[in-house]
Amino acid sequence: MSSTEQGTSSAAPAEPTTAPESAAAPEVPESFYYVHGKDKVVHKVSAGALQHSALIHGMISNLGYTEEQAKANPFPFENIDGDILQMVVDWCNQHKGKPTPPEDTNLPKQKEKLFDLVLAVNYLEIKELLTYCCKQVAMMVKGKSPEEIREIWMIPTDAEDEAAEKEAKKRAGKEAAGETAAAAGDAK
């Protein structure tokens, strides 16, 4: 696997570092897992941080990987851009073991990425981050007119929707006709 490891991430997967804890508390070594996005860049993330993602948490619970196995088999998220996954990993690390405040100031600064972020967060099932992202999407149109909203959220007009629907029907009809012709050819 050609990959660069990032994240809490370091160039090479480092030995788990444990946060200083009170002397009385027993030291439990933290386990780490590895994820990569479309760009194949591997991010090392602690199990605690990954608990935010219901999807990954479920995967971890089911697999029962050892540290070595986890390192050798990073979770692939080919549908998520590398920079988006980096944002998600950063957020998970910042909120490890903490509830998210109602107004989260640890979110990515690029509004341009918001849409992809929502899709990724939805896929990874990170409920708190998704809630905050959706609020940010809603804030984009605060106080805007219908014309401005249409522009910001790229909403097609009724005429455009009708044309797209017609086009989709036409395409579906052609495909159905093609399948029928193919089935008839096979029968011969």
Partner: protein
């Protein structure tokens, strides 16, 4: 701050979001933004409708301006002035006009009812409008819970508004102008199938006769100021006692008499058996009469704990 200070972000295709996220985004929007969104296209209108945003009610006012008023569950009232093809909203950043070419008055009202899943306008209030405009009002509102004809109306407007619009009120009529005379008697209102009616005119008291009380088909009636004689009340009570009306719909009749007038109880109850102003019929029905100053109240079959 997290998100940059750009006026707004790069456009995003909101309609491509997974439906749950889109729904959550709509839930995060305030009512005004949601209305603006609903006006973008038919698709956005349906999305807002399916978001099932709760409001308390929608009122309309027709006067020097036509207005739609929305009462959200917590926020203050939201006022929209509207006319064919435009609607105007005063927000923090000034007055905004949303345009919708080819939209009529009726289309605006239907749009609001539709997106908030309301079956009808709560209150239709008529102020001093042009008589000819009442036809537009009738075309705009097909049904309302409560019709209010205010004392801002001229006599003619109030009279025509009552005749044209009272049939569309399903629950209550409130009339702040005494429009009744020989050619248009009050029984036209009192015989309407309503839950309540409030008649309020201090300048011209409403004349009430026995016949009016007999045709009354409204559960709760309040008249301020009512002009009725003790003899008429006495005849009504006698007829009620005889059980001439097996079913009598009214539960409460509240009559405010002219200031300073005191009801002569001896005349009202002359020839009637009563126990502390309680009349009991042989069929078990009860009528309780009370007076508070110049207010004369009849309560029918109301059981008290």
């Amino acid at each position: 701050m997290l998100f940059s200070s750009l006026p707004y972000a790069m456009p995003i295709r909101i309609l491509s979001l997974p439906s749950a996220d889109l729904q959550y985004t709509l839930n995060c929007m305030d009512i005004c933004d949601l209305i603006a969104f609903s006006l973008c296209s038919n698709r956005t209108k349906h999305l807002v409708k399916s978001s099932k945003r709760k409001i308390e009610y929608i009122d309309t006012e027709f006067g020097s301006h036509s207005s739609i008023i929305i009462k959200p569950p917590t926020d203050e009232f939201i006022f929209f002035e509207f006319d064919d093809s435009w609607i105007e909203l005063a927000r923090r950043n000034g007055v905004e006009v949303f345009r919708k070419p080819k939209f009529t008055h009726r289309d605006w009202v239907d749009h609001f009812l539709n997106i908030f899943n309301e079956s009808m306008i709560n209150e239709l209030s008529i102020e001093d409008v042009d008589v000819s405009y009442l036809d537009t009002v009738k075309e705009t509102i097909s049904k309302c819970n409560r019709l209010e004809i205010t004392n801002d109306c001229s006599h003619d407007v109030a009279k025509i508004a009552f005749s044209k619009l009272s049939p569309i009120a399903v629950d209550t009529v409130a009339l702040q102008k005494n429009i009744f005379d020989n050619e248009s008697d009050i029984s036209k209102l009192l015989s309407l199938n309503l839950e309540s009616a409030y008649l309020d005119d201090h300048r011209k008291p409403f004349e009430i006769k026995l016949e009016d009380l007999l045709v009354l088909n409204i559960t709760e009636l309040m008249i301020e100021i009512a002009n009725i004689s003790e003899q008429e009340l006495n005849r009504f009570l006698k007829l009620w006692m005889k059980g001439n009306h097996g079913f009598y719909r009214p539960k409460v009749i509240m009559l405010f008499l002219e200031d300073g007038r005191e009801i002569n109880h001896d005349k009202v109850f002359e020839g009637i058996n009563h126990e502390a102003f309680r009349l009991n019929r042989t069929d078990g029905k009860e009528l309780i009469i009370s007076t508070h100053g110049n207010v004369f109240i009849l309560r029918f079959d109301i059981k008290y704990e």
